[in-house]
Amino acid sequence: MRTRVGAWRWVLALVVIGYFLVGFVQLLLASSAVSLVPYYTVTDGNPLRTLTLDGYRAELNSSLWAAVSSSLVLASAVAVLTTGAALLLSFVAFKTRLRLRRAVEAIATVPVALPPVVFSVSLLITVLFVPGLVVAYGTDVPLVIASVIVFLPFAMRIIASATIQVGDELLEASRVSGARWLRSMVTVMVPLLGVAITNAAIFVFVQSFRELGAVVLLISPSQILLPVKIFSSWEEGEVTSVAVLNVLSAVIPLAVLVVVFSARRLFGAARRARARAASTVDHVQTEVRGA
C-alpha cells in the first residue's frame, strides 16, 4: 500500500521543488547567464542588452573540443574499468569463500576516507621516481588509475548491494550445470545486475567527467581535460570562459544520462512486450484447446 501523507504533501512538494531549484536550475541559470555576458560585472544596468554568444565562440575556437573529447574518452574508460573491477570484487567478496574476501571489501572501501588529491600525489611520485615508469607520465594511464581508485568504493557500494540480493543457489545451479565460476558470473550474475551495473557506470562516468582532485597533479601541460581547463581559466580570471565550460560540463553528462536511461526504458519495454506476447499466445492456445 502507498502511504497517504495528507496535508504534508504541500511541505514535501516544497522540499522537492526547492531542492530542484537550488541544486539544478540555479546552477544552470547562473552559469548560463554568466556565459552569455562578455565580462562579469555586478552593477550593470540592463544585462540583457549585453548578452552575446561571444564567450562560446571564443571557446569553440580554442582547444575546447580537445578538452571535451579527451574528457569523454577518459570518463568512459574510467567508467568501464571501475564498473568491471567493482563487479569482480563484489563477486569475490560476497559469492566466493576465498580467504581474501573480507580484505577485498575493506580495501575497496578505504579510498572513501582519503582525499582524491592524495592518490594524485602518490601516483605522481611513483611515476616520477620509480625507474622505468616515467614513460607513463603525460599519458592517460596514471589519470585512469587514479580515477579508478577514487571511484571504486562508490561503484562497489552500488554493485555489491545488488550482488548480495542474487541468491547463492542461482550461481550454484550454474555450477552443477557444468559452468566454471567465471562463466557463471558472466551468464548468471551480470544480466541480473544490469540496472546496478549501468547505474554504477553512469555515476562513475558523470563524476569522473568533472573530477579534478584525482587528476590535477598528474596532468602534463600537453594534456587538456575539461575540469582542468575550468580550473586554469578561473585562475586566469576569465569568468565568462569558466561559465561556458561549466555549462558544457553540466550539459554533456546530462545528455549521456538521458540517452542511457531512455535506452534502458526502451529495452525494458521491449522485453515486457515480448513476455506479454508469449503469455497471450499460450492463453489463446488454452482457450482453443478448451473449445
Partner: protein
C-alpha cells in the same frame, strides 16, 4: 500416456544411450559411496562421521527434521560444500576426500541438482535454462532435440518460450528437473524439491518423480523432511538426526520396525508411553505396566533389547494402531480421556490423555467422540515397538 507412446520414447532414449556408449559410462553407473563424511560450520558439526552407500540406479532418501544435516550431506555430494573429513566416491572414483585433500568441482561431477527454491535464472526462457547445461558442456549436437526431449519428459514442451515468472510453482519445479537431467547425469540430487508446492501438486509431482526414476534409471538421492514422500518414493531410506544416521532400511523397515525410539517418533509419528516390564512370557511377549496407568502386552517381535522384568522401557505406538475398543474387549485396552478431535474425512484424529501422558489415535471416520469424553481404546499388540528407556 499410452503404451505405444511410452515404448517409442523408450526406444528413442535407448538409441541415444547407444550413441553415447563411446563415453566411459557403464549401464550401471551412478553408485555413490560415502565413508566417514564430516562437515563443520564455525565449530558446529553439521555432518558428523556419516557412512552410507547408494546403489546404482536406486532411489535413496535422506530423511530428517530441519538441522539434521541432510541438506549439507546432499551439498557435499554435489561438491557445493567441501568435506572436513572422510571420502566420497562415485563409481569407485574418489570425488571428494579430506585427506589427501581432493575436491572435484561441482561442474566436473556429472550430477544433476534440483534446488528447493527451483533456482531458475529469471532472465532466461525455459528453453535457454534447459539448453544451458548442454551449451556449457559443449554438447551442441542435437541440442534443440535434446532440450525438447527433456521438456517433453516433464510435460512442458509447449512452454519453452516462457520466462520463469510466467510459470506456476509446479511448472517451475519441472523446468528445474528438466535442466538437471538434460545432460544425462549419473546421479540426480534433489533437495526438498516438493516442499514449496501445495499439497495436491506435491502428491502429483511425487508420482511424476517415480515415473521419471523408472524411465531414466539414474541414481536419485532425495532429501526431505516429509516421511510420506520418503516412504512413497524410496528404495532406501536413511533417517538422519543431529548430523548422524539413525538408521537405514527399506521404507517398510523404517516405518514398521524402527530400530530406535527416535526413528519411531519421527517416521511413524508414534506416541511414546513409558513403563516398567512386569512379566515376560515366551509366547505372549512382554507385559508392561505403564507409568500413566494401565498395562500393555508387546509381542516378542516388537521387543528391542533384553526387556528384563523390572527394566524401564519406552513403548512406541503409532496412531493408526489404536482403535476404539469393541465391547467386551479387555486385553491391551486403555481408558483415556479425549482432549481433541479432528475429523479429517477419511478418518478421525484423536488426541488422548491418560494419567498425564498424551498420545494420538487415528480411528475410523464413524468415531463419535467429544472432547472430555472417556474412551476405551485397544492397542494392536503386534504393532507396538518396545525400546529400552
Amino acid at each position: 500416456m499410452t503404451t505405444t507412446e511410452s515404448n517409442q520414447t523408450q526406444g528413442r532414449r535407448s538409441g541415444r544411450r547407444d550413441r553415447a556408449a563411446a563415453a566411459p559410462v557403464a549401464g550401471s553407473a551412478g553408485a555413490v559411496e560415502v565413508t566417514n563424511a564430516r562437515k563443520v560450520f564455525n565449530g558446529f558439526e553439521a555432518v558428523s562421521d556419516i557412512s552410507f552407500t547408494v546403489p546404482a540406479g536406486s532411489f535413496t532418501t535422506l530423511l530428517g527434521a530441519s538441522g539434521s544435516g541432510k541438506t549439507t550431506m546432499l551439498r557435499l555430494l554435489a561438491g557445493l560444500e567441501r568435506l572436513d573429513g572422510g571420502t566420497i566416491r562415485m563409481d569407485s572414483t574418489v570425488v571428494a576426500s579430506a585427506r589427501p585433500a581432493t575436491h572435484v568441482a561441482p561442474e566436473a561431477r556429472r550430477v544433476g541438482f534440483v534446488f528447493q527454491t527451483f533456482a531458475l535464472w529469471p532472465q532466461m526462457t525455459v528453453f535457454d535454462q534447459v539448453a544451458y547445461p548442454l551449451k556449457v558442456r559443449r554438447q551442441r549436437e542435437r541440442l534443440r532435440e535434446r532440450v525438447r526431449d527433456a521438456l517433453a519428459l516433464v510435460g512442458l514442451a509447449e512452454l519453452a518460450d516462457r520466462y520463469p515468472s510466467e510459470l506456476s510453482g509446479g511448472q517451475q519445479q519441472r523446468v528445474s528437473i528438466a535442466r538437471a537431467i538434460v545432460y544425462e547425469p549419473k546421479v540426480l540430487l534433489l533437495d526438498e524439491p516438493l516442499s514449496s508446492l501445495d499439497a495436491e501438486l506435491r502428491e502429483y509431482m511425487c508420482y511424476e518423480l517415480q515415473r521419471l526414476h523408472r524411465r531414466l534409471g539414474l541414481t536419485m538421492v532425495y532429501v526431505t523432511h516429509a516421511q510420506s514422500e520418503a516412504l512413497t518414493l524410496s528404495d532406501q531410506v536413511i533417517v538422519m538426526a543431529r548430523g548422524k544416521i539413525l538408521e537405514t532400511g527399506t521404507p517398510r523397515q523404517v516405518y514398521e520396525r524402527p530400530k530406535c525410539l527416535e526413528t519411531a517418533g519421527f517416521v511413524g509419528g508414534s506416541s511414546v508411553l513409558r513403563g516398567v516390564v512386569a512379566e515376560r512370557s515366551g509366547q505372549d511377549g512382554v507385559r508392561v505396566r505403564l507409568d500413566c496407568g494401565g498395562q500393555l502386552w508387546v509381542s516378542p517381535r516388537g521387543v528391542t533389547g533384553d526387556a528384563a522384568v523390572g527394566a524401564a522401557v519406552a513403548l512406541a505406538v503409532k496412531p493408526e494402531d489404536l482403535a476404539v475398543a469393541p465391547d467386551g474387549a479387555d486385553r491391551n485396552c486403555l481408558e483415556a480421556t479425549v482432549e481433541a478431535v479432528a475429523y479429517v474425512g477419511s478418518h478421525c484424529d484423536l488426541s488422548l490423555e491418560l494419567g498425564g501422558e498424551r498420545f494420538r489415535a487415528r480411528t475410523s471416520k464413524s468415531t463419535d467422540a467429544n472432547v472430555g469424553d472417556g474412551i476405551r481404546v485397544r492397542v494392536d499388540q503386534e504393532a507396538i515397538r518396545l525400546f529400552p528407556a
